[in-house]
Amino acid sequence: MRRPRLLYVPFWMTYVFLYAPIAVLVVMSFNSGDSPYSFDGFSLKWYGELAGNAEIGKGLVNTLLVAAGSTVLATVLGTLLAVGLARYSRSKVLDAIGVLPAVLPDLVLAIGLLVFYGTVKMTLGLHSVLLAHTVFGMAFVAAVVRTRLTHADLSLEEASRDLGANAVTTFLRITLPQLAPGIAAGALLAFTLSVDEFVIAFFTAAPTEPTLPIVIYSMVRFGVTPEINALATLLLAVSFTVVIVAQRMTRLTESLS
């Protein structure tokens, strides 16, 4: 098909716009000088500084704890909810409640939970962030698993029941394995979203137990330091790897099915 040549201008501008700031961060993270603005020579010293930063280390551990916990909880609840909504309910209202956390602005959910924790006088800490992240994680897991459910073969479950397997065995041996790729994708999504999540964590975390995004936020607010460039580069490397691996995996499962 004809591709109007003029369109290449905004097309390339988009990619330059998206990647130029990222490229600058990566280059500056290898700066040997102290200025975050001028490149003096290659060095890994900011990565060394980063490794010795206790605040960032603590934030990272907290983030991983919250993400791991909320992913487990969100995956179990989300998978059950997806099966329940698809097989045991025809209610549009329940469907809407199931997707609500995914479409609600993060600030609204954050405020709601802050008010809720305050009203029931719950002390804030990592557990309050974990519970909060489970709310939206669950919605994303349920959404992914549900699309998988629509492709699942119902006759296999019927065959299992007819051959004498009870409901629990049928669910564990037939339904669950069919849903496994969807559950894995949903869990990966919930984990990634939790690791990156800032707004809800900011309102529901205790000041003494910040997650990594909260640590980054306070560093950025305080001013520009080359250490953040090194941290940013590492985070970019991790996210890029995860996205590309996930992309490969989905292509693999697509070609298998």
């Binding site: 591709r3 700031p21 603005y37 059950l80 609204v108 519970l131 520009v224 970019l236």
Partner: protein
């Protein structure tokens, strides 16, 4: 139970007892599958939202507590120019960001849709990739680029220009918003353009329409649902944002998000903060209803 009738061996007429059993197992299934998730969402989603709603009618006492007496003063305070201006300017900034994202995103999505299959995947992944990196890191990148001694200024300085104050104005906020949410514009646009039958455009051209005319009368109307979805995806997170205006806008309360944050974390005025949150939500609900209405018409 189609399998049993086919195999024949286990085909038993359904007795009243087995029907009762079926009903009971459905009830158990409903409880086991829907119960935990819904209970969780009721406690940690619906109750919190209901609390926001109920706090709007109370007021703050002198020590940051809440006086549980019904009052309408939060809503009259909302109309105070001090706050109304912030809401209006949030609407303005989010709208400008959405329009720019659309103007940049549409041609990009259009071109991606025409690329050969292999390049299409690469181009799409490249659009999504920045979105999966930490949001704060992406905002921070703009501080490095634009701040007083930043890279753009030093590059301009080499040309004998500047230095300029790029940061801490509404333009930088819009730049940050467009940068952060552009992928959310491109994806639905791409999906809509991709679905378009190329023969329609060819037919339009064969009937003598110029490319511009074809675009306005054929391509654009048929991809309008994608345009609406993309605009919502950019507008919703932009309108309620407080990080970008804080970091790139200089920390003053210029958008509703900052105002809400300040009510909860600085002024400790939960009732008014809840009222502002409700106002934010109300604007977004109106937009979603408009979208549903336009989707039904199309």
């Amino acid at each position: 139970m189609t399998g049993s009738t086919v195999s024949g061996a286990t085909a038993v007429p359904r007795s009243r007892r087995s029907r009762a059993l079926g009903r009971r197992s459905r009830a158990i299934g409903r409880l086991v599958f829907l119960g935990p998730g819904l209970a969780y969402l009721i406690v940690l989603l619906l109750v919190p939202l209901a609390l926001i709603l109920s706090y709007t009618v109370f007021r703050r006492d002198r020590f940051g507590g809440v006086v549980y007496e019904a009052t309408g003063e939060n809503f009259t305070r909302l109309l105070d120019p001090l706050y109304l201006d912030v809401i209006v300017s949030s609407l303005k900034l989010a709208t400008i960001a959405t329009v720019i994202a659309l103007l940049v995103g549409y041609p990009t999505a259009y071109l991606i849709a025409q690329l050969p299959r292999k390049w299409k995947t690469i181009a799409l992944v490249a659009i999504v990739l920045p979105f999966w990196t930490n949001f704060l890191v992406r905002v921070y990148a703009w501080i490095v680029l634009l701040s007083g001694p930043g890279l753009v200024n030093s590059a301009l300085g080499d040309l004998g220009l500047g230095p300029f104050e790029f940061l801490y104005n509404q333009g930088t906020i819009v730049t940050g918003l467009v940068y952060s949410y552009l992928p959310l514009m491109v994806l639905p646009l791409y999906a809509a353009i991709e679905k378009l039958d190329p023969q329609l455009r060819e037919a339009s051209a064969n009937l003598g329409a110029r490319p511009a005319r074809t675009f306005v009368s054929v391509t654009l109307p048929l991809t309008l649902p994608g345009v609406v979805t993309g605009c919502l995806f950019v507008f919703v997170p932009s309108f309620g944002n407080f990080v970008i205006p804080e970091l790139l806008g200089g920390g003053r309360s210029i958008m509703v998000g900052n105002l809400i944050r300040d009510q909860f974390l600085k002024a400790r005025d939960w009732p008014f903060g809840s009222t502002l949150t409700l106002a934010l939500l109300a604007v977004l609900i109106v937009l979603l209803l408009l979208q549903a209405w336009s989707a039904r018409r199309a």
